[in-house]
Symmetry: C2
């Protein structure tokens, strides 16, 4: 089996100067213009990593807290987990499964399948008091739309990864992962191929989209206001295997 092996030198560049994103903004054009202003030469197969937060803002995924009417369950749960009942209501609205409830945190599986604290709903860096920001409704679809628009604007074939910051089991701290992807196979699958010593690799299937999201975070930071990075000279399979394939099915999960 052939596996496209990555190249020997990659570059990761912060796309600076992206303004605060507002609902309805043409995000692809804003990214295009920021690249031009920064003199970033976009080449074939560059990978745009875009923070989910600005995608959600452009898609107007804001919810006004004072508009939310909590259900009786949310009101009761609020007392147990010490969390605003309206936030709990918003989490339920964005989820298909509640996995665990702890003080201040619901661990939830979002409607599109990612497992995230509080269903990925955010209050920091959104620039509006009394509002919550939900994740994009369908991040793979968002990635696909952005990819198509960016490809037209730059006249190059590229890939898009939408990233978000997540905690992990067993590990302290958070890392960025891919919640949406287009133009790239989110995996680099070695299963069935041979290692250096001609031995069949049985399990290795690298979640390259998650690694690319993590790599991009290294130039993005949380305070710099850099929500986009470009990964250059990385070799990858362009088969469309979206980020939802990264969501593990319950029964298969050894770690759960």
């Amino acid at each position: 089996m052939a596996v496209i092996e990555p190249g020997d030198k990659i570059e990761i560049i912060a796309v600076k100067g992206i303004p605060d994103i507002k609902p309805g903004d043409d995000l692809a054009r804003i990214i295009f213009e920021a690249c031009q202003k920064n003199g970033i030469l976009v080449e074939e197969n560059d990978i745009f990593v875009i923070a989910s937060k600005i995608v959600a803002k452009a898609e107007n995924r804001f919810v006004k807290l004072s508009d939310i009417v909590p259900s009786p369950f949310s009101l009761r749960a609020s007392k147990i987990v010490k969390k605003d009942a309206r936030e709990i209501e918003a989490i339920l609205n964005a989820s298909r499964r509640i996995i665990r409830m702890r003080k201040g945190i619901f661990l939830a599986e979002t409607e599109f399948g990612v497992v995230a604290a509080n269903a990925g709903i955010d209050k920091s860096n959104i620039g509006k008091e009394d509002y919550l920001l939900l994740l994009p409704k369908d991040p793979d679809r968002s990635a696909r739309m952005l990819r198509k628009r960016l490809e037209k604007l730059f006249n190059k074939k590229i890939a898009v990864i939408i990233s978000d910051t997540y905690g992990r089991t067993w590990r302290e701290g958070q890392v960025d992962m891919a919640i949406g992807a287009s133009g790239i196979n989110v995996f680099r699958d070695y299963r069935g191929s041979k290692d250096m010593y001609n031995r069949i690799l049985k399990v290795t299937n690298i979640a390259q989209a998650d690694e690319i999201a993590s790599a991009a975070e290294l130039v993005m930071g949380k305070k710099k206001g850099v929500p986009v990075a470009i990964v250059k000279h990385y070799l990858y399979d362009t088969t469309e295997v979206p980020a939802k394939k990264l969501n593990r099915k319950d029964a298969k999960d050894l770690y759960r």
Copy 2:
């Protein structure tokens, strides 16, 4: 609170031409010579990411299967999980906690605290039949020793991260993470600092060493035989906060 924010452009370079590592090899010198042969200019604060496998080989962490005498427990467990009793014995020898047993897999907490399938014990890419390769005994210590040797050889202050490939809860596929680190704070901690809108960040504590390990994997691959990468121009806090701090304590784990 001041947080060192990462730079705007980083480079990740594969260090090619590293030969098969044998027990007792001077790994730092081999890496030094490979950099020279490849014309890689090593600069102050470069980060060397080194695959745990070659560190383990240099430290002679091989165990001969036919030398292992399985305990009665390992023999009984072997029938339940369909796994060689001698491998199970080796996993127990390298662990301080067994978290789960499934067909073919023990999920174990190693003696130094990482949670890994089969305690990170490897059979692929080790070049010896009838042998297992354990993880380095104390990867933070290995990282520290390698850092000191590399700093002398290059006459530069650098950081070292020892990486390994891990599965995750909820997510398909594997990514590289940091199991050893020296010369770098494994975290970039924003807790208590303010976001772009002057709002206090409550939870964000980026596991930057894990992200760097993932980023480096993007040039390493599994078949190319590139076990070392250099991350350049990344800004980081050089306070010594080792990788063992990435191991989450049981009681704190929401995701477990």
